[in-house]
């Protein structure tokens, strides 16, 4: 009861609040539209790179052992039941899209607690046979719990996004061009070469 009272707005707030809510939800749909957040309903990883802040994760995933097996959604969306799957997707989709559109994205994106749980459970979903041993689970109390009580990626630190998740994973698109390039500017190179010729004489 106490909590409800605290949360309940005072009477004179009613009108402004309703108006505000209207604006917010209107904006929400607008954001959904311009950011292609509706594409979240799809499981295709390409939709995640609709915004380039997801590029490092996309590229690292594309180079990982999981590319052929697991798409973004296989890990990042609950797979236990259909309702929850779409609820989570919608929640996440709207959230990411608003953050992106409002330019509010953090400098470095880090997974949140809720997201961690989802991913962790998805690791187990696919790898249950490997991480648990049905025979031992029957004899050894807490075997399942002990096997799965740490985030998988505390050990498998590079699955699937690699170690560097910054732009540095994708920065070197022009690598070839760069490798051919020399490191010493011509004006200095000439002077120093002259120096060496003098030395040899």
């Amino acid at each position: 009861m106490g909590i409800y009272k605290k949360l309940k707005p005072q009477e004179n707030w009613k009108v402004p609040v309703i108006v505000l809510l209207g604006i917010i939800s209107g904006l929400g749909f607008y954001i959904l539209h311009i950011s292609k957040a509706t594409s979240y309903v799809s499981d295709d990883p390409k939709v995640c790179v609709n915004c380039h802040v997801m590029i490092p994760e996309y590229v690292s995933w594309r180079n990982s052992s999981h590319r052929e097996w697991a798409s973004c959604a296989d890990c990042h969306v609950p797979q236990d039941n259909v309702a929850e799957k779409y609820f989570f997707k919608a929640k996440d989709g709207i959230y990411h899209a608003s953050v992106y559109t409002t330019r509010g994205e953090p400098q470095v994106i880090r997974i949140k607690e809720a997201g961690k749980k989802v991913v962790h459970n998805n690791c187990i979903r696919c790898h249950e046979n490997q991480v648990t041993d049905a025979k031992l689970a029957s004899q050894v109390d807490g075997h399942f719990a002990h096997r799965t009580d740490r985030a998988c990626w505390e050990c498998h630190r590079e699955v699937p996004h690699g170690k560097q998740r910054s732009l540095s994973t994708v920065n070197f698109v022009n690598d070839e061009e760069l490798e051919e390039d020399v490191r010493i500017p011509a004006w200095l190179d000439e002077q120093l070469k002259e120096n060496y010729q003098n030395k040899e004489q």
Binding site: D133, A134, S138, Q139, V140, D141, H146, R150, E154
Partner: protein, 469 residues
């Protein structure tokens, strides 16, 4: 989760394991994978740059140790530890434990057994902790026979990890902590911390006077300075040095303490993560019970977390060990010099008062050296801290030697005290006046007479134990 109760019906354990069952084979019936890997602890083939499964005679490799430990058991015999399988045998065969001729004979107490066998929790359960620690080690020669094993770390009812050694529990209490609060991940290191820790025998515990009670000196903390302060406050010494007469401390394998100061511990990596990584058989993972140098198993231990070439990872370990050994070796040399210089001072008639500060410096410097040296793996487990500890050791040793330089001149000595010829273990043992041949003969006699009797008695005793039903 539901799956769990389902399959519970499908599998019934082959045997019922009794409380404190010391025979590893019995547990192995139920857990053949773990047991098979456990049996590999007998392996002695792998040798890394400084460690490995092989038995390495450290006094041979580094005869300076003989001088550092003059007057103490370790100068007789000291090996780099090998697999858990050998804990009992190595204790029996070490020259340190002498050649007892009966239950009340020999230089070492029962307490030595504490970290060597699952017969220990069994005995402690049967006769009580105090009675276990009482008497000579020979008094329990026919009781302690099984190699370190399942009952040391596991609860027989549910295979949970558990602490079976009172010293660790008491040390936690002394620090005001409750070991029952340890997380599962912490337990994966704490089972090792039952044994891989610095210890001493406290014979002055009220109401237990005279019992060499196994105690971990952690009350002030784990660092080299905090433990030193602990011993200093108690004016405890392990022995009086044979040459310098300094009141010495012996640091024994502070593995857990050093590990705690390193980055892996800070990031929640446990001993078991590296020394007992998972192993896959038939698509299922279980804990590898072959406990050894991870350098013999880089793929399963390091590479799960570090996607680096195996040779790079090994080089990283060696890099750290090599950087540490330079100064550790230097400190060792300085300590040899300090002991010999102190002896020269005594010989020239130095007084107790003149020597007091110098001996304290030697005590502290060697304690620091030993903390670094005895902690096998420490140069990797926490290289920055070990580097620091050795740095302070060098400073203190040299302070002592500056005082010695002044004193020696005051006593009429000129020039430098010559460095002894201790190029080999034999020369070093001769230098400190030890009769090794005598020790070896005593040991041989013991091995031919008393030891076989113990083994026979133990066999008969175990034959009467119920088989796991």
């Amino acid at each position: 989760l539901e799956r769990k109760s389902e399959s519970a019906f499908a599998y019934t354990p082959k045997v019922k394991i009794g409380l404190n069952e010391p025979r590893n084979k019995v547990w192995g019936e139920n857990f053949p994978r773990e047991y098979q890997s456990y049996l590999q602890n007998a392996d002695t083939l792998f040798k890394s740059a400084y460690n490995g499964n092989a038995m390495i005679d450290m006094l041979e490799v580094d005869p300076r140790l003989v001088v550092l430990w003059a007057g103490y058991g370790f100068s007789k015999d000291y090996n780099q530890g090998r697999g858990h399988t050998y804990a009992v045998t190595d204790l029996q065969n070490s020259l340190r434990t002498g050649g007892p001729t009966g239950p009340d004979d020999g230089p070492m107490p029962s307490t030595c057994w504490t970290c060597k066998s699952p017969d220990v929790p069994r005995l402690m359960g049967e006769i009580g902790v105090d009675n276990f620690y009482k008497g000579k080690w020979a008094s329990k020669g026919s009781e302690v026979v099984n190699a370190i094993g399942c009952a040391d770390c596991h609860d027989e009812k549910n295979m949970n990890l558990k602490i079976t050694r009172p010293a660790l529990i008491e040390a936690f209490e002394a620090m005001g902590k409750d070991i029952n609060q340890a997380t599962h991940q912490e337990m994966r290191s704490l089972v090792c911390a039952q044994c891989h820790v610095e210890y001493y025998f406290d014979t002055k515990i009220p109401e237990k006077e005279g019992i060499p009670y196994l105690t971990f000196p952690w009350e002030n903390g784990f660092s080299v300075e905090e433990m030193e302060a602990y011993y200093d406050e108690k004016e405890f010494k392990d022995w009086t040095h044979g040459l310098s007469k300094a009141p010495m401390l012996k640091a024994q394998h502070p593995g857990y303490e050093v590990y705690l100061t390193g980055i892996h511990a800070k990031r929640g990596v446990s001993c078991a993560d590296c020394h007992m990584p998972y192993k896959s058989e038939g698509g299922q993972k279980f804990t590898d019970h072959h406990i050894q140098s991870p350098l013999n198993n880089v793929a399963n231990s390091c590479q799960v977390c570090h996607r680096e070439e195996s040779e790079n990872l090994i080089r990283d370990v060696y890099d750290r060990q090599n950087r540490i050994i330079v100064n550790r070796d230097k400190l060792e040399e300085l300590l040899v010099r300090a002991h010999v210089e102190a002896k020269t001072a005594w010989d020239l008639g130095a007084t107790e008062e003149q020597m007091a500060e110098i001996l304290q410096d030697i005590r502290h410097a060697q304690w620091r050296w030993d903390y670094a040296a005895a902690s096998h793996g420490g140069s990797f487990h926490s290289p920055v801290e070990i580097g620091r500890v050795i740095g302070t050791g060098i400073d203190v040793a040299q302070e002592g030697r500056i005082k010695l330089a002044r004193l020696l001149i005051a006593l009429g000595f000129e020039g430098e005290v010559p460095y002894p010829d201790i190029a080999t273990k034999e020369k070093a043992q001769a230098f400190i006046g030890m009769d090794v041949e005598k020790l070896k003969l005593e040991k041989e006699k013991f091995q031919k007479t008393l030891l076989p009797e113990w083994m026979k008695a133990a066999e008969e005793r175990e034959a009467k134990m119920e088989d796991g039903e």
